[in-house]
């Protein structure tokens, strides 16, 4: 497309626009559907970003944190705990190692046993919270050393929990992207149908234009311009509504966990702004294809 045609397409030609009669109902349907699609895209995008963030976060936090459990008879527990803490302090890559207090352990169990149970009387294993530094530590080496020196110690580095959670978050992100692609495809299909309907409804107009010497490109442009602008307007409204919807979601909180983290953060808020131009591009391509095909079929 030449620069002149592109400019004409964007700036438009009020006179040329009038040669195709306005079509109120289809125009409104196109606006509505592209708006609805854009609205859905905003949520799919928010879901994709949130689950991506979540996957990264879980992977990182869980990878760094580990728990050491000391299963030992009550009389040896303190000594073994001390020995294990000593080993952890010497292990490169471990940033902090801290034995949980009795009260902290009781708090962890409270959701299951209720607050009134005297958990202090139970033969509970001692828990040690281990936090790795950025470089991380060698879990296998640590296990071997603990086995030799602190027989009652079991290192749980959360791999068992981490892998399925991260997988789930990544699957969620993939699903969100597939949804966005499907929404884009559905928008293209809808605009193709609407453009075909408009071309068919205006067959007489197209015939008259051809009779007075209009080029196919001139006729196509009248339709392409309309549908591109409608899609642009529709998606802009849909994106605005979607962004307000996401903005009004409750902020991420510890209690809400995963669900309340759904939304955009920082520069992520700019991502939905790409939807209207992309929607317009989809409409432009779909209408160009429909018009070229349709006009080529005429005599």
């Amino acid at each position: 497309m030449t620069e002149g045609r592109l400019r004409k397409l964007i700036l438009g030609d009020a006179q040329a626009d009038r040669v195709v009669p306005p079509s109120g109902f289809t125009a409104q349907l196109t606006l509505f559907v592209s708006g609805a699609m854009a609205f859905l895209t905003v949520f799919a995008l928010a879901l994709s970003m949130a689950s991506g963030r979540l996957a990264d976060q879980w992977a990182e936090e869980l990878a760094r944190a580990a728990t050491l459990r000391i299963n030992a008879p009550a009389e040896q527990r303190a000594a073994q705990t001390e020995a294990a803490l000593e080993i952890l302090r010497q292990t490169p890559g471990v940033a902090t190692a801290r034995a949980l207090t009795g009260a902290e352990q009781a708090a962890l169990l409270a959701p299951w046993f209720g607050a009134g149970v005297p958990v202090g009387d139970l033969p509970l294993p001692q828990l040690i919270e281990v936090t790795g530094d950025d470089a991380g530590y060698d879990a296998q080496g640590l296990r071997l050393r603990l086995q030799a020196e602190v027989p009652g110690a079991v290192l749980d580095d959360h791999t068992r929990w981490r892998a399925p959670l991260v997988d789930a978050a990544q699957a969620l992100r993939r699903l969100a992207w597939v949804s966005i692609l499907l929404i884009g495809g559905a928008t293209a299909a809808m605009i193709t149908l609407a453009a075909n309907a408009a071309l068919a409804a205006n067959a007489q107009v197209i015939e008259v234009l051809r009779l007075v010497g209009a080029l196919d490109s001139y006729i196509a442009q009248a339709f392409i311009r309309r549908f591109t602008l409608r899609a642009l307007t529709g998606t802009a409204v849909g994106v605005a509504a979607g962004m307000i919807g996401v903005f009004l979601m409750p902020a991420a909180s510890a209690e809400g966990g995963f669900l309340t983290g759904l939304g955009f953060q920082g520069l992520g808020w700019l991502a939905p702004l790409l939807i209207p131009p992309l929607g317009a591009l989809v409409a432009f391509a779909a209408t160009t294809r429909a018009a070229t095909k349709r006009l080529g079929e005429l005599s």
Binding site: Q15, R18, V19, L209, L211, V212, G213, A214, L215, D216
Partner: protein
């Protein structure tokens, strides 16, 4: 300008025209006549490329019409003004915009043509009706508007299909007058009509040749029509 060479046209159900050869020389005035259904409109459509001949060749401005692509065909239509039997307007646009439509679609700056447009409207006597919609016009007004639209790009050839088909005698005289004036300006004119009195009236004013379709052939009618 336009040359038909041994042209035949077969619409599938049977042969409509056969072995038609004719040349429209620059500045000539031709009438095309014959009974209804004889193929007058078909012959005109062959001349401006709306139909392709099933036999023979049609040449317009030294180009074989058959070999033209869609864009070249559009350029050809700008050089041949056509008054269609049913006028063919865009009913949602006022008369003045319909007349200016060829200017618009060929990318001319309408503001530069304002004076020409007004003059043309005056010439066909439609200044008063410029902002009426086509369905509001009478038969004669529609024909005059169609004539104005066909000449706005100043084509070399003007082809009119029954331009006086549904107008009264006085109006048909007026339309004929406009066509004669165009011919005097050097335009090549081809008019299909079954109205023999119109042809007689024209013969007093212009050197017109009469072509008659009869029995699928095109014949030059006698001078003593």
């Amino acid at each position: 300008m336009i040359e038909l060479e041994n042209v035949g046209y077969n619409y599938g159900g049977g042969e409509l025209l056969n072995g038609v050869s004719v040349q429209l020389a620059p500045g000539s005035f031709h009438f095309l006549t014959g009974p209804s259904g004889a193929g007058k409109t078909t012959l005109l459509k062959l001349c401006y490329g709306a139909l392709n001949p099933t036999a023979g060749r049609v040449r317009a401005f030294n180009m074989d019409v058959h070999g033209l692509d869609r864009d070249q065909m559009a350029y050809l239509r700008r050089r041949v003004g056509v008054v269609h039997q049913d006028c063919r307007f865009l009913d949602h646009l006022p008369v003045i915009e319909n007349i200016a439509l060829p200017l618009l679609v060929s990318g001319r700056e309408l503001s530069h043509e304002e004076a020409n447009l007004q003059e043309l409207l005056n010439w066909v006597g439609l200044s008063e009706r410029a902002h009426a919609l086509p369905p509001e016009l009478s038969g004669g007004e529609r024909q005059r508007a169609a004539l104005a639209r066909s000449v706005i790009l100043s084509p070399d050839v003007i082809i009119a299909d029954e331009p006086t088909g549904n107008v009264d005698w006085e109006m048909s005289q007026r339309l004929l007058q406009l066509l004669v004036e165009l011919n005097r300006m050097g335009k090549t004119i081809l008019v299909a009509t079954h109205d023999l009195s119109l042809i007689r009236a024209a013969k007093n004013q212009v050197q017109a040749r009469v072509l008659r379709i009869s029995n699928r052939q095109l014949q030059l009618a006698g001078a003593d029509l």
